[in-house]
Symmetry: C2
Subunit: 205 residues, 2 copies
Amino acid sequence: MTSDQSRPGLRDRKKRQTRAALSAAALRLVAERGLDQVTVEEISEAADVSARTFFNYFPSKDEALLGDQPTEREVLAARIVAAPPELSAFDALRLAFDDVVEAIEADREVWLLRLRVIAANPSLLPRLISGNAETEQVIVAAVAARLGLDPCHGHPTLVTTVAGAVFRTALMQWVEQPGTTTLRELTAGAFAAVSAGLPDPYAAT
Amino acid sequence: MTSDQSRPGLRDRKKRQTRAALSAAALRLVAERGLDQVTVEEISEAADVSARTFFNYFPSKDEALLGDQPTEREVLAARIVAAPPELSAFDALRLAFDDVVEAIEADREVWLLRLRVIAANPSLLPRLISGNAETEQVIVAAVAARLGLDPCHGHPTLVTTVAGAVFRTALMQWVEQPGTTTLRELTAGAFAAVSAGLPDPYAAT
DNA sequence: AGCGATCTTGCAGGCAGTGCAAACTTTTAG
DNA sequence: CTAAAAGTTTGCACTGCCTGCAAGATCGCT
């Protein structure tokens, strides 16, 4: 009875809340004290659940800090195959990352905190965005499909890992800037530099 | 008295031996069973030392599998600053990695095993060669010095991370090939692709 | 042989992460 | 409304990584 308009159901709402609370508590505490000065127990306590429950939501302490990678992954892959066919695979990736940029700027505060945490705890950096092995495989498969190549061909892997490195670099630059530049500009600049073959700045003919 | 020709001394020789034995045992066991089916205790037992001693040599189980990164790091940095000044930073890195290629081909068997282990346990991949945060900082500093830029400028970081991604990709391709290609060729091809701006294969004008 | 420096080892302990089973809560069905 | 079903939280026990500390073994030098 009562209001039945909540399509997700009470159960799902609670799960979302708990997940968000754990993630937020993890970010806040690690930002304050550093990654290995915070225990899972403390994070769980701050989110009012048991430590065991933490591991029902995240397979490791790190994952609670890195955002929702499965979602990002699907969005990215979909955008890669949907990109205009006249674009090169690298340009398709560049375009796909534009949407990630948009998503990040929509959650600006959370992402700035997350990136500050990652910058302060570099062991997290490689697993950001496309660093996860599963995520990378999905992207590589999408690129390979787009090019009509075997995934065993080296090019899809090369393009994917390079684009991931470019984007990660742009993110790290963004968070180190006082706010003088937008993430969009930094990403565009980094991708453009790679497209130009990475000439030295000002030294190109 | 007696033979004094051994400059390293007995002690250093033993240390080298122990380190090598631990590394070899780790590689062999993890290749056979997988990363998390091998305990540090088992590795230490296979090398005839205590588990506690393992951690006197390597700060983590992973490090025993990844080779001697501090050495690689210094070699790379030295080669970057020593590269002909007319080369772009990216080409200097390409050249520097040529020496790493040479070192790897000199230890071909060990490196093939190591790369097979890394391919089978992808959590190790990001920390290979320049994935370590410390290593990357050293390389970025060398590149920045070469360009006469602040390390806070984004370009050194971009070039370094991209080159690292390129080289890691080449390594992974190499180990997946039956042996049809040399690492040198794969590396050269991957760097050339990036220098050309990552066009699609065969689709470039 | 003996002294100092270095290396190895055992021990105690903290923390991450997993499996299992009991308690609890929401959903569904009668 | 009630009771079963399905899903969630929690405690407990356990393995394994990793660290600090102090005692003992080994090596290099005189």
